[in-house]
């Protein structure tokens, strides 16, 4: 009965050791800055869907990844072990799983491959069929109101693989745009699934299949919010050739606009180069972005009229703050994060609809902070 | 009463016990006799559930062996079963910790009787003292039945005498004892019942008193008859 001291020593080491580890862990978490989006003026509900993300890096320890929304800051490292194992998805995917748990089952990734409006949600995924050694497109479609679901497997036909660029929906037709790879080349492919007729048609909008031509790649000009309904889409074909030194270089770029309502593709003249780079597109207007040491200029260009509209100019808060500028276009509004200011501006009349300010509990930690991504929930 | 009913035990294809049945009563010393390797130890192990049997049944006071049976019956094997690093004192402590029927007074009696030093480590003891310690740890439990496996093998003459003496004292009285041996000489005069085993079978089970009185034979005489004849 008297021989308990070893057990007591062992248990003491266990409790003190593990206990101080847990205490130290939470102390480290507490030293990270807490950010908050403070409402300054305007309609607060506009900011509720905004999710900013980035990192805090003080150079001493590994960067701490964080997201910031109207509720506050969340650091990756603060998530519990189980939460980290389960993993974090993008804010849109989290919202969709929340709203449509059954439908979203089995959806492995969401990027450019889905479409959502008030009535429908459509997801297209390229899947590999091991038994037939072919790739297919799995198309799922949900009518939000009735809860009716359609799941279709679209066969790629003569294609070996398809990289999905965009999904759109218009009048009972789901359109999937992809860069398709054939055994003799590639092309921009449009697959239209007619929900009423339960039928799929596949068109090659652009192709590059001749033996001796240069390599060509097809891509999409990025839209700010990839899943929203768009009147037009802009595609880009980039021709690449081998230089004499054996390097790959761009030989030429062409732009095309696709009219979603008419389902027609036509060439598009974009005044690139002289206005900076294309940094946004909302279905009708292309946004060029140009930076000088003092300011950032965003120039809207209407593709239908082929004319420029008035610039938006943002002063840089300080020169080093290049990572703290970010903007997105959603629902006719311009969302801008400039340094610590979050602003929502009506694109039509340039009126500020919302203004918010990001506050930090410890000003000194500001220089280690980067918020380089803006998303909508 | 310990009842062993039709117990069959196989090691692989080899049948070590071929349907053994006998009983051992409280207050009697029952001796399992046979040469080495006839399954005597296996029977004791089987009673204590230290080895599984293939068929048959073993009952102690009419009940199957469970954890509470171990407060009623003790087994003293022919090797030490305590941690070698323990002193005799620590070993007694250990027994006292787990057994409600541990009787420290009796243990002290044994210490004195066997002239053992409780501070000695078990691993340093001589063969004879190891056997005595074994006996001490087993017999200081206030149990009804005692199983002893070859208590006399391989130890010096004086220790054998001392151990044999134990059987005649109150330290054994009233208990049921099953003892195995291949040399009957030391205890022939002590045993009440003999069970002769060979090749996994019982040749003969008899009451030593009766056979002496009725046929005028000693245990050795019966053994000679059975094994030679």
């Amino acid at each position: 009965m008297k021989k308990y001291w070893k057990t007591i020593v062992v248990l003491t080491v266990l409790v003190v050791g593990i206990g101080s580890y847990l205490v130290q862990t939470s102390l480290v978490a507490n030293s990270l800055p807490e950010l908050q989006i403070e409402h300054v003026s305007g309609d607060e509900s506009l900011a509720e869907s905004v999710v900013l993300s980035g990192k805090y890096a003080d150079g001493k320890s590994a960067p701490e990844w964080l997201t910031l929304d109207y509720k506050g800051t969340e650091y990756m490292s603060e998530r519990s072990f189980i939460e980290q194992m389960v993993g974090k998805r993008g804010p849109v995917q989290e919202r969709l799983i929340d709203e449509h748990k059954g439908f979203m089952r089995g959806v492995s990734y969401l990027h450019d491959n889905f479409y959502e409006d008030d009535e429908v949600l459509a997801v297209a995924e390229t899947s590999w069929d091991f038994s037939f050694q072919t790739a297919n497109i799995e198309l799922s479609y949900l009518k939000k109101e009735s809860g009716e679901e359609v799941h279709e497997t679209l066969h790629l036909g003569s294609m070996d693989y398809a990289h999905i660029l965009e999904v759109q929906y218009h009048e009972n037709k789901i359109m999937v745009f992809a860069e398709g790879y054939f055994n003799n080349g590639n092309g921009l492919i449009e697959m239209v699934y007619d929900l009423e007729e339960d039928r799929m048609t596949q068109n090659e909008l652009l192709e590059n299949k001749s033996q001796n031509s240069n390599h060509m790649s097809f891509s999409k000009v990025n839209d700010s919010v990839t899943y929203q309904p768009m009147d037009h889409l802009i595609f880009r074909s980039t021709e690449e050739q081998l230089s004499n030194e054996g390097r790959v270089e761009v030989a030429g770029t062409k732009f095309y606009q696709y009219d979603v309502n008419e389902m027609e593709l036509s060439e598009l003249e974009l005044p690139i180069n002289e206005n900076g780079f294309v940094s946004g597109f909302d279905g009708n207007t292309v946004y060029f972005e140009e930076q000088t040491p003092e300011e950032i200029k965003i120039t809207p260009f209407n593709i239908e009229g082929g004319d420029f509209k008035e610039d938006f100019v943002f002063e840089k808060a300080n020169e080093d703050d290049q990572f703290m500028f970010n903007y997105k276009i959603k629902d006719g509004n311009l969302y801008v994060l400039n340094h610590l200011e979050l602003r929502v501006i009506d694109l039509e009349n340039k009126e500020t609809l919302y203004e918010g300010e990001i506050t930090i509990d410890n000003e000194e930690q500001l220089e280690n902070l980067e918020l380089n991504r803006m998303e909508f929930r | 009463m310990i009842e062993v009913n039709d117990v069959v035990k196989k090691f692989g294809r080899k049948e070590v016990l071929k349907g053994i049945s006998f009983t051992a009563n409280k207050g009697e010393i029952t001796c399992l006799i046979g040469i080495n390797g006839v399954g005597k130890t296996t029977i004791l192990n089987a009673i204590m559930k230290l080895t599984p049997i293939n068929s048959g049944e073993i009952l102690v006071d009419g009940k199957k062996v469970t954890k509470s049976t171990f407060e009623k019956i003790t087994f003293i094997p022919d090797s030490t079963i305590m941690l070698p690093g323990f002193t005799i004192n620590e070993a007694m402590d250990f027994m006292n910790d787990y057994y409600e029927v541990w009787n420290q007074e009796r243990a002290n009696e044994f210490l004195k009787f066997f002239r053992l030093n409780p501070e000695d480590k078990i691993s340093t003891l001589s063969k004879g003292n190891t056997a005595k310690t074994n006996l001490l740890l087993g017999l200081s439990l206030d149990v009804d039945y005692v199983l002893m496996d070859e208590p006399f093998s391989g130890i010096d003459m004086f220790s054998r005498e001392q151990i044999a003496e134990v059987f005649t004292t109150h330290l054994i009285e009233d208990r049921g004892v099953i003892i195995t041996t291949h040399e009957i000489n030391d205890i022939e005069h002590l045993i009440d019942k003999a069970v002769l085993l060979d090749e996994g079978e019982i040749y003969k089970e008899f009451n030593t008193e009766e056979i002496r009185e009725e046929e005028g034979k000693s245990v050795v005489d019966v053994m000679r008859e059975v094994y030679r004849g």
Binding site: Y4, F81, R105, G106 | P77, I81
Partner: protein, 277 residues
């Protein structure tokens, strides 16, 4: 219950010698690592200053500051951990087999105790898990000691002060030993306990049926692996990713608990009816 606690205390006493030696060994070697890394660093700075005629600032600029990471990611630090892990793995087997082997077969005594035999299983399982956690706890305390000695040894301009918790979380290997929250510790070491339980069952199968038992033990290990892998395999191969990660994790946890229960049931049966001394 009282007998279980007594048995566990008894097992702690038996493992304590190993445990205390491992702790001493870990601390000793890791401290040598601290002194060695500091010495190496000082040597480099000194040789740059004397042989290359550099100023202190220039030498510092060339070599860079010294951080505790140099110690923590060195073999002086990881070596003793590996050895401790190896020792504990070995002890999983030793904790059973030593009862049978040698001149003194203690298994007789253990099996004849007037208590449920499964308590022997539980006390050994708890001993392994608690001893492991004790080593983990000790390692953290040792880290704190080593880090403060390190900070005292390295003079100011050369020192890059780091928090050990950050250093732990940055190394995939070390952060496996130190999951960063309580639920992680419970999950990781809980799963460890399940695996130890499976190994115990395998050992008892061998102890009950010897050669044939080894085959049964291997078979049991395969079945357990299949059960534990099933949530992932079924989701990938049959359900096309139907389950969300949280649901897979939950199913896996249920499977692990099931495996533990099956191990206990089998071990109980083996200890009661099949075990051989």
């Amino acid at each position: 219950m009282r007998n279980f606690l007594k048995l566990t205390n008894f097992e702690f006493n038996r493992i304590s010698k190993l445990l205390f030696s491992l702790m001493g060994f870990v601390l000793l070697i890791q401290l040598i690592g601290v002194f060695f890394e500091v010495w190496m660093y000082n040597n480099r700075i000194d040789s740059l200053m004397t042989e290359n005629q550099m100023t202190e600032a220039q030498a510092l600029n060339q070599v860079g500051e010294l951080s505790f990471a140099m110690v923590m990611y060195s073999m002086f630090f990881l070596g003793p951990i590996f050895i401790s892990v190896g020792a504990m793995l070995f002890y999983i087997f030793l904790i059973w087999y030593r009862e049978w082997f040698g001149k003194n077969t203690f298994i007789y005594r253990l099996l004849m105790l007037p208590t449920e035999r499964i308590n022997i299983f539980f006390s050994k399982l708890v001993t392994i898990v608690v001893a492991t956690l004790t080593l983990v706890g000790f390692q953290f305390l040792a880290l704190l000691i080593e880090n403060s000695i390190f900070n005292a040894l390295v003079s100011d301009p050369f020192l890059s002060e780091m928090n050990v918790v950050n250093l732990i979380s940055q190394d995939p290997l070390i952060s496996m030993i130190f999951p960063h929250s309580l639920d992680g510790i419970l999950l990781v070491y809980g799963f460890g306990a399940v695996i130890v339980g499976v190994l115990f069952t395998a050992i008892l199968l061998e102890r009950s049926y010897r050669i044939k038992g080894i085959a049964a033990a291997i078979l049991y290990a395969i079945v357990v692996s299949a059960l534990l892998a099933s949530p992932f395999a079924v989701n990938e191969l049959l359900l096309n990713g139907y389950m969300y990660p949280g649901e897979i994790l939950f199913t896996f946890a249920v499977m692990a608990l099931l495996v533990l229960m099956v191990s206990i049931v089998i071990s109980r049966k083996l200890l009661n009816d099949k075990i051989r001394v």
